[in-house]
Chain length 129, copies 2
């Protein structure tokens, strides 16, 4: 956990710990002054203890796969898929992180949901495979 | 538009052109083999011409601000806000890009919508300012 460690490395460790339900391991990737936000619901999570409490209480057993990861230095962005195999559900989270001294200081998650393709653009799109 | 130009520079040019409704300028940041996807609606846009047609027909006049930008080399991620001042609406798009030889080859957009904060975690969150 070097001071100059790239943000992408820290973010990968963060998601791997959550995938393993290792809440302490995930919290160890967070700075003491950690702030996480869910802008869609206007919620803010302040500090490692609140982060762990939420994950302990989070409904469902979610396995997490990092699908995209981009960043440089202290900035990183990820797209992960989260699958609850018991309920047969998969969610997508897109996140931005600010890392300093090898720890996540700021984190925002976006949770997009499926929607119907609009008719007006149907002439210029194909269905995704 | 150098061959080794960082993906972030190209992505910034892409959004600036869309903000100015300069469809040709935006298309000039795309590779001939451009593919864009909207995974939530399972739509795929293939090629510059389809991209321009969609933007020409897109309902509303959207001003675009790049709020976050992360990436390195040929990978980049952005979060932009899009505001239709006439209708008083703001949307958020989170996107990942793959750039090669200074042109966008692959692009995915995610469009998250507001949702209600769930009650089960209310003890451990604060309202965002």
């Amino acid at each position: 956990m070097g001071a100059n460690e790239d943000g992408k490395v820290v973010v990968r460790r963060f998601w791997a710990a959550l995938d393993e339900r290792d809440w302490a391991g995930a919290a160890a990737t967070l700075a003491p002054e950690y702030v996480g936000v869910w802008p869609q619901s206007r919620e803010r999570v302040v500090g490692r203890e609140a982060f762990v409490a939420i994950n302990e209480h989070y409904p469902g057993i979610w396995r997490i796969t990092v699908e995209r990861l981009a960043g440089e230095g202290d900035q990183a962005a990820s797209r992960v898929s989260l699958t609850d195999h018991e309920r047969g559900r998969t969610e997508v989270a897109v996140s931005f992180f600010t890392v300093r001294d090898g720890l996540i200081r700021h984190h925002e998650d976006w949770w997009p949901e499926p929607y119907d393709a609009p008719a007006w653009r149907s002439d210029w799109v194909e269905p995704m495979g």
